[in-house]
């Protein structure tokens, strides 16, 4: 997740579970949610991303475990 400094995460108000393209940035190749240490987004946004990913997983928009390693 290099060169992320130019992206303005501070002004994100709501992270949508439907926006899978956006959420895919925050999961690794196994389908795990990346830690904040790696993503480097504000804590408030990280919390929203986490719930959004979990909602998307429930609706099968995102995988719990990536197909390739299952």
């Amino acid at each position: 997740m290099a060169n992320q400094e130019d992206v303005d995460y501070e002004h994100i108000e709501y992270v949508d579970y439907k926006d899978t393209e956006f959420l895919e940035q925050f999961i690794n190749n196994q389908g795990k949610i990346l830690p904040r240490r790696v993503t480097d987004v504000p804590a408030r946004v990280q919390r929203q991303i986490t719930t959004a990913i979990k909602r998307a997983r429930h609706l099968a928009l995102l995988p719990y475990v990536q197909e390739s390693i299952r």
Binding site: E13, Y14, R55, L59, A60, L61, P63, V65, E67
Partner: protein
């Protein structure tokens, strides 16, 4: 009279279900809301999509995303209906707070603008404004 709130509901109908049965389910859900003091704002059918993982041996599902106003107790009955229906693989109901409403309005506005631009620049070559 119970308080009414705005909700967002997404549900996934099994991909093997025939289109007319899909329409039946969507109609049933809408009627259940409207017959019980609710108000459907928008129904957005995403259509058949590949599921990220297999559910009950099914690899695809028909996604329906909708927004509505309804009294709180209706949600339990609605979710019970969806739970009982074997063709509905997944559902998610969220009560919209101020942030979600703003986000929804913003998206609507963007879509309306996009449509205007598309109509205006029909003959010109379309370029992404990002």
């Amino acid at each position: 009279m119970a308080n009414t709130y705005q909700y967002e509901l997404t549900y996934v109908i099994s991909g093997v279900v025939q289109q007319n049965q899909v329409d039946d389910i969507v109609r049933k859900v809408n009627h259940l809301i409207e017959d019980n003091g609710g108000d459907v704002i928008e129904v957005d059918e995403w259509g058949n999509q590949r599921l990220a993982y297999e559910i009950d041996r099914k690899r695809s599902g028909y996604y329906v995303n909708m927004y509505f106003k309804a009294p709180g107790p209706l949600i339990q009955r609605l979710e019970r209906e969806l739970e009982i229906n074997d063709d509905v693989l997944r559902y998610l109901t969220l009560r919209m707070d101020a942030k979600m409403k703003r986000h929804y309005k913003k998206r609507k506005r963007r879509e309306a603008q996009q449509q205007e631009e598309d109509e205006a620049g029909e003959s010109e070559s379309s370029e992404d404004d990002e």
